[in-house]
């Protein structure tokens, strides 16, 4: 029982990341009709917003390391700690939550710059060309990050208060053997909040309503005198923010490196296809579903029957879903169909 519950949590956690990326992917696809292969790179840029903030906060001065006596060794002491002592250290410890404040404006700006600077020239081009140009953009971004931050993964820690694990068994009254890392629970909660926020924005605000109307029938909305293009640009920025936040908050779970985005990109496309092209609820549902399936496929009991199933389960499910429902789980007629 515990094992099943833990795997569900693992799946939800992973699914949270998949869902956030897939959500942004579907948003750009649904609004701008762009197949954005640079979306994984936006996830990576979000993670590196946190890394960059950490580097800024830990700008250090070199101090003689007294523990080594036989030569002059130095260790780095951050200025924040020198100036503010424990308060300085506290700010450094809370770099991940603080980075959320930085990530949102930075990613919004990056998203809008991409759309205005590059993507808009490809609206009326074939999908193949869109894929090529966005994939190229992803490679450029990766290499830029590699030049600045190096090829090695850079560890980012969760705040010490939530670095350990929660005794879920005790909290939920299920016995003592069930514990789960605090940060992963926080990630799960954050992804739920972000997803709800995006849905609320699209469904409960007038701005969102116009965007949805534009997604359904762009020309009619334009005839009504609305500059739908500008709104779509903002939506692209929003998609970048969602992907960026997914990346920034994921840093304590997975040590970020320059190709972290590519690792997620392919899976996210599968999630979008399984969920149904252009369907936001479909992307979210498929994200969580595939995350949970992947977790269960890694159970030893399952792997002893089907060795290696954990590596291919997602693709098997994708094949099965597409055979049964060619438009994906919640796909609508007419999307990406001429």
């Amino acid at each position: 029982m515990d094992a099943i519950l833990l795997q569900i949590l693992n799946g939800l956690d992973k699914g949270g990341a998949y869902a956030l990326i897939a959500l942004g992917l579907t948003l750009t696809f649904g609004t701008l009709g762009i197949v954005n292969f640079a979306h994984g790179a936006l996830f990576m840029l979000g993670a590196f917003c946190t890394v960059a903030l950490q580097s800024v906060l830990t700008i250090s001065t070199r101090v003689r390391d007294e523990s080594i006596t036989f030569f002059e060794a130095y260790k780095e002491v951050p200025y924040l700690v020198t100036w503010f002592g424990d308060t300085g250290q506290l700010i450094i410890d809370y770099v991940v939550p603080i980075s959320v404040l930085v990530t949102i404006p930075v990613m919004l700006l990056i998203g809008i710059l991409f759309e205005r600077g590059l993507i808009r020239f490809f609206y009326n081009r074939p999908h193949a060309e869109q894929i090529l140009v966005t994939f190229g953009l992803a490679i450029v971004l990766q290499e830029v990050i590699k030049v600045i931050f190096g090829a090695n993964p850079i560890p980012v820690a969760a705040p010490p208060a939530v670095a350990g694990s929660a005794d879920l068994g005790v909290i939920l009254g299920l016995g003592g053997n069930l514990s789960y890392p605090w940060w992963r629970l926080i990630y799960l909660a954050s992804s739920a909040v972000i997803i709800s926020g995006v849905f609320a924005f699209l469904n409960l605000t007038t701005y969102g309503m116009v965007v949805r109307a534009g997604m359904a029938d762009r020309e009619t909305v334009q005839f009504l005198g609305i500059n739908i293009q500008r709104r779509f640009t903002v939506v692209f920025g929003l998609a970048a923010v969602v992907a960026g936040l997914a990346g920034a908050l994921y840093t304590p779970i997975l040590t970020p490196n320059y190709h972290i985005g590519m690792d997620f990109l392919v899976l996210s496309f599968v999630v979008v296809v399984v969920g149904g092209m252009g369907s936001l609820p479909g992307a979210v549902a498929a994200g969580f579903l595939l995350g949970i399936l992947q977790s269960f496929a890694s159970l030893n009991e399952v792997k002893s029957i089907f060795p290696g199933i954990d590596q291919i389960i997602i693709y098997l499910v994708a094949v099965a879903v597409l055979l049964a429902r060619p438009r994906g789980l919640l796909g609508r007629k007419g999307v990406m169909e001429s």
Partner: protein, 451 residues
Amino acid sequence: MDRIIRPSRRGFLKTTALTGAALSAPTFFVRNAWAQENFCNAPTGSTVTLGFNVPQTGPYADEGADELRAYELAVEHLNGEGDGGMLNTFKPSSLKGNGILGKKVQFVTGDTQTKSDAARASARRMIEKDGAIMVSGGSSSGVAVAVQSLAQEMGVVFMCGLTHSNDTTGKDKRRYGFRHFFNAYMSGEALGVVLAEAYGKERRAYHLTADYTWGWTQEESIKNATEAQGWETVQAVRTPLGAGDFSQYLTPVLNSGADVLILNHYGNDMVNSLTQAVQFGMRDKQVNGKQFEIVVPLYSELMAEGAGANVKGIFGTSNWSWQLQDEGTKAFATSFGQKYGRPPSQAAQTCYVQALLYANAAEMAGTFYPPELIKALEGFEFDGMGNGPTLYRAEDHQCFKDVLVVQGNDAATSQYDLLKVYKVVPAADVTYDASIFGGELGPYEVAGCAA
């Protein structure tokens, strides 16, 4: 009218026999000498080029950078510059501090990227384009095995850097490959005893293993060693290399009834799996009435830095530590520390020693000619290099020396003393019969790149 002189039959036979003998005799006597002049990249000028093939990008780039620092220092010392480092403590030494065989040492570098094909390509480039007489370095067993077989084909000696799989000097051993670093079998033998002493003989272990040559041999060695101590192995699960998120592999551990988790991971995998295991609260758990423990069989200082406070109290093994108190270690650590402002890692030490051992073998053999040089290294016994008396065993080109059992330091004062030496296990306790891992060294003479 000119007379035509016709040779007599006897005369003709005599002349031909003599000519034949004259033509064949010199080759017969000097063939070896000719080969000794014309082997792959035989140095002709006043310099000799060594090729250092280390991971400059990819998951082990930090380790590669430290290896490169060590090689630069070794070259400096071989050329008689700096304070000489271990040249002053190494014995028996034929090194004179004037390069190798009087030729000034220079070097070229390559990037293995910790990928077998990239490592082979850069080794080949250094041999074919830069004229490297020897190749050394690397931080992965997959790479070591791949480059070693290339070295055998090309007739260029390969001095392995950090590689810990039993296969490197076991089933994949090569005549042209030499390993100073210890291996998974030795880690198992050294660690098994210590673990049984520290945690008792009734333990149930769960393995998570990186799914490639090093992980497999590491898992097998630790399993055998701990089972010999009375431990039970609950399960051994293979994880894909670079899995990143290990949560789905870690959660089953909690309900498996195991009370020890053995992480046969290295590099970034080790940093991630250990950090995540600690996040899952494993170190605070009681299972079967015992404290739950984590073991990392192969430690590295640079990875301990990545995992930070999570390594406290955790046992593992190490090839060498700058904190040892022998003369060789002090000389090297001081020399390295003065040049770079930080103590050397175990990867740096093994690379430095390998460079010196190669140079020394050339001096002993009196030539760079690989078959002679290899013979000088085979069975060579030495001391003063930081690991105590060491033997380069002829049968498998593996060094036999003391193994360190190390433990995460509870009272670390800086990033450099995150690990402390818990026990020095004597070489005799980790020595094994060369035949148990099979493999063939192959021939001394190969066509090589000069052919």
